[in-house]
Symmetry: C2
Subunit: 349 residues, 2 copies
């Protein structure tokens, strides 16, 4: 497990926040403090008890299909938090510094108020932090899930040595979060980091967020669409054998495997996606000059098939003054980034 | 003269910086502190004695054609600073908090070391702050000129009410600077803010900074080139009468005047330039969600001919959640932004 870095461990200053001091119980379990991190997804609520080294001590996973009402979700989370607090090392109870929740949508981070979750109906205008704090008498933080994952990655994962980094999730969509001066930067109204909406082609594909948005060219579905388009145009590829003639079965992993075996169509697809990403990453680098990009999400776990052309296209597009001082890193915490990040958000305060 | 805002005046904390305490002499002239700001250009060195309300008390302007060596420049600046210190209110002498210098190029801000000034030969690798501090026994700060102008605008000019803003200069080139959490953000290696190199078209015009850089589409020369291209293609315009047949005389101001009189070609040119700018500004807004863009430089002083289509294209490209919370402002300090910003850089510390 990666260790907390000196730069990050300097960040918490309990004396600055009386709520922190009230709940920490720092010496109750050896040297550790604990918090519960919650990753609030469309299919599962993932929860974990996490210590201040970013280590997961206990877990819960609740299928959201079991929960029919918003009150049901809140009940399930509250029950899970109380159970997890009893599952410290040696199954002993631990005091909680608080709870950190990442949700897929727009949040007023300061108030812990959910504006809207585009893919989770019934969660517009919910003061989630307040509801949970009242219920549990614990400090509760709520943020956008990408910010939460970035907090995890930039404290205990691939970004732990940086003060200035850009975190990108590359999955079904393309999301982002910004680490600036060792803190997540949320913008004027908590909506910063929306890299997926940046335009890479001002005359490009139209969408609700303008023309030529990165998300319309990269991400899961776009990779598959590109491959299928080439197949439908009559290009030959081992993909047709791999999917046994059912092109709806093609996914980014299948394309990656084909590419590793030398499939030209598949290599072209990843090269094109990498070039689109490089265009956006170069623009961000000229604007922010981060030390590194940390790339998470399903597609972010790809191998050299993605990262080799990404580095190459970035070098084509960046002046060496910028290219030589930039690192591209794969996210390191995988599916745990959300729960670790949620807990970390509270423990760092 | 605009007043310093509460947010900015909270920033200086003399106790954090012993050099500050040593040089301020805060009560020597009523309530004011003073510094000299220097705008180090290719044609002139502009200098001013500025108080901590951002008011210019005295000025100097030295033509660089008079200065043949680097030592000559340093001598001239040092002499000018000493003279200005004797020209406080009522021509009395004032103690200086220090000197802030903006230079057109890459600078290590922390050390006050010039890496390179692309358009001013002989200034690569110069420890300018150190040279001047030794000479004057005063605190000296050196930064990129766009960061310095942004410091001026964001303290006493059009950006004085914001904590998060993006400053853009739109002149011969396109430059930028970022105000984040009330401070100029310089990036990992002091090179952040290079908006002119952001790509608005990944398949666009190639240049040393990648493909489709904003600077290749907007800025002084590009505006004129567009107009001349249309004229050469045979389009009719009152520009040909205005320039008396000599198309080399066409400049952005002439095109603006023609547009104000209804010239279609000229309106088209500004609309196209505005659309290119909007593409970049939309991407920056999705990424950083600033409260405002502050637009300076010669072209930035244009009237509705630029700002009307800029606002319109931005609305086409931004989700209302972002568009409704964004302001576009013209810079307010004009040619004084550099000297006021230079002094402010020191006075804010």
């Amino acid at each position: 497990m990666p260790k907390k870095t000196p730069t990050k461990s300097e960040t918490p200053a309990p004396s600055e926040d009386s709520r922190s001091a009230a709940h920490t119980g720092a010496s109750a379990q050896g040297d550790h403090r604990y918090a519960v991190g919650i990753d609030f997804g469309g299919t599962f609520i993932k929860m974990a008890l996490v210590n201040d080294d970013g280590q997961i001590v206990a877990r819960r996973r609740i299928p959201t299909s079991d929960l029919s009402t918003r009150a049901g979700w809140v009940d399930a989370m509250a029950a899970g938090i109380l159970e997890l607090a009893g599952e410290g090392p040696g199954d002993g109870a631990v005091p909680l510094a608080g709870v950190g929740i990442g949700v897929p949508g727009f949040v007023d981070f300061e108030r812990g108020h959910i504006f809207e979750l585009p893919n989770v109906p019934g969660w517009s205008g919910v003061p989630l932090a307040g509801l949970m704090e009242e219920r549990l008498s614990l400090r509760v933080r709520v943020d956008n899930d990408v910010n939460v994952m970035a907090t995890g990655e930039c404290t205990f994962g691939a970004g732990r040595t940086y003060q200035h980094a850009v975190f990108m999730t590359l999955g079904t969509g393309v999301g982002g979060a910004l680490l600036i001066n060792n803190r997540i930067y949320r913008g004027a109204h908590f909506m910063a980091g929306e890299m997926g909406h940046m335009s890479i082609d001002m005359h490009g594909v139209e969408g609700p967020m303008g023309r030529g948005c990165l998300e319309r060219y990269a991400g899961n579905r776009r990779i598959v669409e590109r491959a299928v388009r080439y197949l439908e145009a009559g290009q030959r590829s081992m993909l047709d054998a791999m999917c046994e003639g059912d092109r709806t079965r093609i996914d980014p992993l299948m394309i990656e495997k084909a590419a590793e075996q030398g499939d030209e169509l598949s290599k072209t697809v990843y090269d094109e996606v990498a070039e689109c990403l490089a265009a956006a990453l170069a623009s961000i680098t000229y604007l922010l000059q981060p030390q590194a990009f940390i790339i998470g999400g399903g597609v972010g776990q790809s191998g050299p098939i993605l990262y080799e052309p990404l580095q190459r296209h970035l070098r084509e597009r960046l002046n060496p003054l910028f290219a030589d001082r930039l690192e591209i890193k794969k996210a390191a915490l995988g599916n745990d980034a959300g729960v670790i990040g949620g807990a970390t958000m509270v423990l760092l305060e």
